[in-house]
């Protein structure tokens, strides 16, 4: 999922300062799971902003709404009536959601309330870790399902650097050494031979280095 974190209230206050009537629009998918922009977070932020504005003597009307998914037009439509009756929209979705809204509602300012951080997993309740860089050329099959591009601080593709201690990365001792994890996993799978093959330097053109990417599925286009 996409992991994000709500912006500090002080920054959000500045962002919404020019508006007197604003909609806080949540997203019920990824950012809900990471407690950044679901229905509950919309309610808390709306309440906190109302209190903050009242304290500062600023009049503001805040409406709350959450759609199932902000990055798809089909779901955004549900929020259209609420969006159109406000001066601006504070989106608690990821950057994709914010831009999908901006594309559909051209005349209404769409403002970000969340800092989108990474593609990750829920490691345990309340802890999210980055596990995928969206490189566009997945090689997890040979690395036992553990991505060295994302999880090795040095992005090494042909074995460990030798600097890890007790299974922890020398760059950040709180991070597990990805290569230790890869080797342990390949041992369990009986696939240590995977590491005999040389992995050539990565072609970063399939990633963001090649510019914004587009996926076209002709079979779904009418």
């Amino acid at each position: 999922m996409i992991v994000g974190e709500q912006k500090p209230i002080s920054e959000i206050k500045e962002i919404i300062a020019p508006y007197k009537k604003i909609l806080i629009l949540g997203c019920g998918t990824c950012v809900k799971t990471c407690f950044a922009g679901g229905e509950d977070e919309v309610a808390v932020l709306a309440s906190a902003l109302r209190l903050a504005c009242k304290k500062d003597g600023k009049e503001i009307e805040i409406e709350e709404f959450t759609v199932e998914r902000q990055c798809e037009d089909e779901f955004i439509r549900e929020g259209a009536p609420a969006i159109s009756r406000n001066e601006g929209v504070l989106s608690l979705a990821c950057g994709a959601g914010v831009q999908a809204l901006a594309r559909r509602f051209v005349k209404i300012p769409i403002l970000p309330g969340v800092n989108t951080t990474f593609i990750g997993v829920l490691e345990k309740q309340g802890v999210f870790t980055e596990e995928c860089s969206g490189c566009g050329d997945c090689m997890l099959a040979i690395f036992g399902g553990i991505c060295p591009f994302t999880r090795c601080a040095k992005k090494l593709l042909n074995g460990p650097c030798g600097g890890s201690q007790n299974g922890k990365c020398e760059v950040n001792p709180e991070t597990d050494c990805a290569w230790q994890l890869i080797i342990e996993r390949l041992k369990i799978l009986g696939q240590m031979d995977n590491l005999r093959a040389y992995v050539p330097p990565k072609n970063w053109q399939t990633g963001l280095s090649g510019g914004p990417r587009k996926l076209v599925r002709e079979d779904h286009i009418i």
């Binding site: 500090p8 209230i9 002080s10 509950d40 309610a43 808390v44 309440s47 906190a48 902003l49 109302r50 209190l51 903050a52 009242k54 304290k55 500062d56």
Partner: protein, 134 residues
């Protein structure tokens, strides 16, 4: 402190920790208004409820929970403690002052402990004055 300030307190409490606010003996009982919200477990106190209490005009909010390790639902009071800490930070951030919100652990029926916790909040409110967002 504002003259003639009679603080309004919303008291969220776990029914296993605390029974009735009428039985409290507060030093300033006549100088405050207490509204109680009973919960089956303190873990039901969501952060938005705490903020809504301030939006509704409370000057202070108190959450009374069972002692740690004695929650009927194992960890409800720990969850409440973490949420209260989160909302206290939020109150500081928006300038309402986190001291308006307090959480207290108390053994079932220990009215003295409950009164002490509320009296402490009343002391803070005497210094902080009325809710500035009302």
């Amino acid at each position: 402190m504002t003259e003639n300030f009679k603080p309004k307190i919303t008291l969220f409490h776990c029914i296993n920790a605390f029974g009735d606010a009428d039985e409290l003996s507060l030093t300033d009982m006549n100088n405050c208004e207490i509204q109680t919200v009973k919960m089956a477990c303190s873990s039901m106190v969501k952060d938005v409820f705490l903020l809504k209490a301030f939006e509704a005009g409370s000057d202070g909010v108190v959450v009374l929970v069972c002692p740690e390790g004695q929650c009927r639902y194992v960890e409800g009071n720990i969850r409440a403690k973490k949420r209260v800490a989160w909302v206290r930070n939020l109150l500081d951030e928006i300038g309402l002052d986190g001291r308006r919100l307090a959480l207290g652990n108390m053994a079932a029926g220990d009215k003295t402990a409950a009164a002490q916790i509320i009296n402490d909040v009343l002391k803070n409110l005497a210094e902080l004055g009325p809710n500035p967002a009302v």
